[in-house]
């Protein structure tokens, strides 16, 4: 599948623009401030119904306007066609149309246009906050299965309810009500953990193969799952995960009442990246870190392709300035064989060697095809 045409209205700097893309590598170049990143943002928006830059839909609307819309035409194999429109106006909720039909449940839609995003921000994935690593898994798994996204939404809601309850009646607990929330916390949470385990298993089976393509030394890279309760990642069934979760939840009951917040569950999960069994955080060099991030994004692409039976669009925002020659050529090699990708850059001639590419040059927020 690939995105054939994109129409933006009042989106960031674009009041009204049509862009045609090719299947393959699309290079979006031009000086800074022309809206290169906004184009990637709009594609991501259309795919995941939210921005990767702003949490507030309002911020995306062009100055002095009261709505924006993103309209995308997607072409599948055998000339099957799909149209998706996402719009937002200040006095109405976000609206989504798929082939002219209104979609009310966004979670059932996410994954129709899978995409993998790589920005400079992702370079913080290994060293940064645990929430970055959870978000990495959540965005990916939501695109693999609508059920994951549903479970995640319910789970987050349950955590909020539970925290409110813990905060309110710390001395006067309605135990029956707490157990009603606990039962759901454990159920939804365990399904989330189960899906994360599967993905982490996939990463561990494939990470070395790709990492060592970029590296001169043979290193053993692995991903370690750090859940907030003890599990056996290799063998536990969903029932066993639930049992472990419930057990730990009972154990921390008094701690939770004291801290007045939910301290156990997938919202406290973390990942550790290991090089020869030593933490990447401490022992990984900057260059190795960049390699690892690129490999993780490749694995993300592979996993979604594997599970979703659709190849995600690759969105790479302004990262090539940060990479050396060998990493660039390794990444481009991968991109060259995998369907559609979008690269923003200020230095267009970095990509001169690529034979099959679509050049899009932005100047004064209008477009020149090259």
């Amino acid at each position: 599948m690939y995105l054939q045409k994109l129409t933006l209205k009042n989106f960031r700097v674009f009041s009204d623009i049509d862009i045609t893309f090719k299947n393959g590598i699309n290079i979006i170049s031009g000086p800074n401030g022309q809206g290169k990143t906004s184009i990637l943002e709009s594609i991501y928006y259309l795919a995941l119904t939210r921005s990767f830059r702003s949490t507030n839909d309002k911020n995306v609307i062009m100055f002095n306007n009261d709505y924006f819309s993103i309209n995308g035409d997607i072409l599948f194999e055998k000339n099957k066609h799909m149209n998706a429109i996402l719009s937002y106006s200040t006095n109405e909720k976000k609206q989504l149309y798929l082939n002219k039909k209104k979609i009310d449940k966004f979670s059932a839609y996410v994954g129709k246009i899978p995409c993998v995003l790589l920005t400079l921000n992702d370079l913080k994935l290994t060293m940064g906050l645990p929430s970055n690593r959870r978000n990495f898994m959540d965005v990916l798994l939501s695109q693999v299965s609508p059920v994951y996204l549903q479970n995640l939404k319910s789970y987050k809601k349950i955590v909020q309810h539970r925290n409110k309850l813990l905060n309110e009646n710390s001395d006067n607990h309605d135990q029956n009500q707490m157990e009603a929330w606990n039962k759901q916390l454990v159920e939804y949470g365990s399904y989330i953990v189960n899906d994360r385990i599967k993905f982490i298993g996939f990463m561990n089976s494939n990470i070395n193969k790709y990492y060592n393509k970029f590296s001169d030394f043979k290193e053993d890279i692995s991903v370690k799952y750090n859940p907030s309760f003890k599990i056996n990642s290799d063998s536990d069934s969903i029932q066993e995960i639930m049992k472990h979760f419930q057990k730990k939840l009972n154990k921390v009951k008094f701690v939770e009442e004291e801290k007045r917040t939910t301290i156990i569950g997938p919202h406290r999960d973390d990942l550790d990246f290991l090089k020869d069994n030593k933490s990447f955080k401490e022992y990984g060099s900057q260059g190795e870190n960049k390699t690892l991030i690129i490999v993780l994004k490749i694995l993300e692409w592979l996993y979604v392709t594997n599970q979703n039976k659709k190849s995600p669009l690759m969105l790479l925002d302004d990262i090539f300035g940060e990479l050396d020659r060998s990493r660039i050529s390794g990444l481009l090699n991968f991109l060259d064989g995998i369907g559609q990708s979008f690269i923003t850059t200020t230095i267009k001639n970095k990509f001169n060697d690529l034979s099959n590419k679509n050049d899009i040059y932005l100047e004064n927020s209008s477009i020149v095809y090259g």
Binding site: L165, N176, Q184
Partner: protein
């Protein structure tokens, strides 16, 4: 804008906007419709609103709406009083009645447990349900609550509280789409779900 210059108009728009599901734009459209209406139609509407407020009360048994002490369903000797169907809201009764698959009586909770919305079990008609459940004639309690996280919590909570009464406790099959609301589900689906209800473990 024009709203600021016309106090009575903006007042009407505000009042309409207060209603659930009525956005600002819809409220404006309704208000302009009322302006164009003739005076008789407008006073009919105003009268109907006041009439409903003065006549309609809650059934003293099940909290359905009624114009007397008990609602039509509780008063109907043809209904099977051994089964109580527990719903969140009166609109859920309407949905279930449309399906024609349920012959028992109801109990309206008036919402679902939600710490975030500040709704605790004490705010719902749960005590009244427990009192009704003591009746030996009641054999089954069917929980037909929306399968949202709040509805789910309410069902788990109720089944815990109802356990000592030794009644059959059932819930509608979750053919109801995940997170969907009963009032928006077509009659066929809710009917099937009631027939294929299952015991709560």
């Amino acid at each position: 804008m024009f709203e600021n210059e016309n106090n009575s108009l903006s007042y009407l728009i505000d009042q309409l906007h207060r209603l659930p599901g009525i956005g600002r734009k819809t409220a404006q459209r309704l208000a302009f419709h009322i302006i164009k209406d003739n005076i008789e139609d407008a006073s009919e509407l105003a009268h109907a609103i006041l009439e409903v407020k003065s006549k309609i009360r809650y059934c003293n048994q099940c909290f359905n709406i009624t114009e007397s002490d008990k609602c039509n369903i509780c008063n109907n000797p043809g209904r099977d009083a051994s089964t109580i169907c527990v719903v969140e809201d009166i609109v859920d009764i309407i949905a279930i009645e449309k399906s024609n698959e349920y012959q028992g009586i109801y109990h309206v909770l008036g919402g679902a447990i939600s710490p975030l919305a500040g709704i605790s079990p004490d705010d719902l008609h749960i005590k009244e349900l427990l009192i009704r459940s003591q009746d030996a004639d009641v054999k089954e309690i069917l929980l037909a609550i929306n399968p949202s996280t709040e509805g789910e919590a309410t069902m788990i909570y109720l089944s815990k509280l109802l356990k000592p009464y030794n009644k059959r406790i059932t819930r509608i099959a979750s053919g109801v789409p995940f997170g969907a609301h009963l009032e928006f589900i077509d009659n066929g689906t809710i009917g099937r779900d009631i027939i294929s209800r299952r015991d709560v473990e």
